[in-house]
């Protein structure tokens, strides 16, 4: 019985850790941007805001799955990952948007953001490298 309780407690702890995953919003190292409001971030994720305030097109990179993606979608886009995917399909197939770069994992997001001026992406905070700059979300 004790084993079962410990197992459930461990699962609950793991679940909480996943839910509380630290997310880093990253931009190209050459970017002059240092911060973005939560409203602006939502607008970027939903394709309403396509330009940086300082000029230049925002080139968004999104993960295709995983706990970090789920968390960002829920907290910042107020949608599930599936709803976010469908939302963007609607934009693409009505001529209203260009699908964000879709990355399978943090490494792909980091690589894209590091190489693409104007890029914005998100990864687990622990994955951040010196090749990108972390953006503050206000």
């Amino acid at each position: 019985m004790l084993r079962i309780i410990l197992f459930i407690a461990a699962l609950a702890g793991l679940s909480a850790a996943v839910q509380a995953a630290d997310v880093a919003y990253i931009v190209n190292a050459q970017s002059t941007e240092t911060a973005l409001s939560a409203d602006d971030l939502k607008s970027v994720l939903l394709g309403n805001k396509i330009k940086w305030d300082g000029g230049g097109v925002i080139k968004l990179a999104v993960l295709t799955s995983g706990p970090v993606h789920d968390q960002v979608m829920q907290e910042r886009a107020q949608r599930s990952a599936d709803q976010f995917d469908k939302y963007w399909k609607k934009l693409v197939f009505t001529g209203k948007g260009v699908l964000p770069m879709q990355a399978a994992d943090d490494a792909a997001v980091l690589d894209y953001v590091a190489k693409t001026p104007g890029a914005l992406g998100y990864v687990a905070a622990a994955s951040v490298t010196a090749q990108v700059k972390v953006l503050t979300i206000k």
Partner: protein, 393 residues
């Protein structure tokens, strides 16, 4: 199997085979993103031919293929175009669904020039987009497939934007003004409404969506006015007396109020639509004389229409979803149609969907919308079964 059906079957087979081998990913050529989809729909009815030879037989009533290309330049300018090819109720065409140049000056203000999708309700712009919904078809009478060419897109200008309203949420708006392309005389709508000729006409309107500061809730209103159309029609007089010619103008307005609420895996939606059709025909005396049945004149018996539906969907898993709706259409001068639908959708892979749905219909006002294929139809209650498969990339 006649020549047309053999050709359709061949196109379907080749298309599905081609997509199946390559559908998993979108393509990018020189910075141009390319997406597409292919779907085919079969239907069966226990009583009537509706959009095909469905009376007690399964018939492939619709095949659709969509390919779009989008490119955004570093200055923010975007160019996008989409080809939509379809076969519906025996009629086939390849159309430019949209093709526009788009520049967003700011989040609050953007401009599109070219062929733009016409918004009407929450779903008219995505009525061909199977990937985003559980149902194989939107509510049959609310978003009638045969009327698609009238108001799916316009050639002109569109202004759009997203305006923040602080604690009140935000608003998305679109306004548009443009031409509607000429409707082919052989298009199912033209056959169904007995119109011989319909010249290009203008359309103007807009939509406003309030993103309420409650997660998942949005409320919308849209309006458009189709005006300046000229029509000619040869209406059938009472049997044995031949036809009588009419010519004149046709106007059409549509207003839609929409609410959608998403919570977890559930999506609830309701929409109300009021439409008004006005005809200014030069041979009203023939109509008044009673020699011409009202139904044979385009919309003469449906000058005003109120429609509403309530829809609920549940995405049970990543692959499996269920949905139901109840739709009610009131054709104020003739009759009422009701439609209760149950649907399921299953994603075999992320790019391959299959769907099945059943409609329990009460009313037959729209069964002749693609031409009268049910002479003497009187039974109000009938069932309609639909299966559909869609591949996308």
């Amino acid at each position: 199997m006649n020549k047309r059906k053999r050709f359709s079957a061949l196109v379907r087979s080749l298309g599905i085979a081609a997509c199946a081998t390559s559908a998993a990913h979108a393509y990018e050529l020189g910075g141009v993103a390319i997406h597409g989809s292919l779907s085919t729909t079969a239907a069966y009815s226990d009583k009537y031919n509706f959009l095909g030879s469905t009376d007690e037989s399964f018939d492939f009533i619709q095949t659709e293929a969509t390919v779009n290309a989008t490119k955004r330049f570093d200055n923010g300018l975007k160019i996008a175009g989409q080809v939509y090819a379809y076969e519906l109720a025996g009629y086939s065409a390849v159309t430019l669904d949209f093709g526009n140049v788009d520049y967003s000056f700011s989040q609050e203000f953007g401009l599109r020039l070219g062929r733009n999708k016409t918004p009407s309700g929450f779903y008219s712009e995505v009525q061909d987009l199977d990937q985003v919904r559980i149902f194989a078809s939107l509510p049959l009478n609310f978003y009638p497939r045969v009327y698609r060419p009238f108001a799916v897109a316009n050639d002109g200008i569109s202004l759009y934007g997203n305006v923040g309203a602080g604690k009140a949420g935000s608003f998305d708006y679109q306004t548009f003004y443009g031409y509607v392309s000429r409707i082919d005389n052989q298009q199912p709508t033209m056959i169904g409404t007995n119109i011989n000729e319909l010249t290009p006409n203008m359309i103007a309107g807009g939509s406003l969506i309030w993103n309420v500061p409650v997660d998942g809730l949005r409320v919308g209103y849209s309006y458009f006015d189709l005006f300046g159309a000229a029509i000619t029609t040869n209406a059938q007089t009472i049997p044995g007396l031949g036809t009588t010619s009419f010519s004149g103008g046709l106007g059409y307005t549509a207003q839609v109020a929409s609410i959608e609420y998403t919570r977890g895996k559930w999506v609830a939606a309701t929409e109300y639509k009021y439409t008004k059709t006005t005809t200014d025909l030069a041979n009203d005396s023939a109509l008044a004389s009673g020699f011409v049945p009202a139904r044979s004149i385009p919309n003469a018996d449906a000058a005003e229409k109120d429609e509403i539906y309530f829809q609920l969907t549940y995405q049970a898993t990543d692959k499996l979803g269920f949905g139901t709706y109840y739709a009610y259409s009131d054709y104020q001068k003739s009759t009422i149609d009701k439609d209760i639908a149950l649907a399921t959708s299953y994603a075999i892979t992320p790019w391959w969907l299959i769907k099945g749905e059943v409609h329990f219909m009460d009313g037959i006002h729209e069964i002749g919308s693609a031409g009268d294929k049910n002479p003497g139809a009187k039974e109000e209650k009938w069932n309609y079964y639909v299966v559909k498969t869609t591949l996308s990339f």
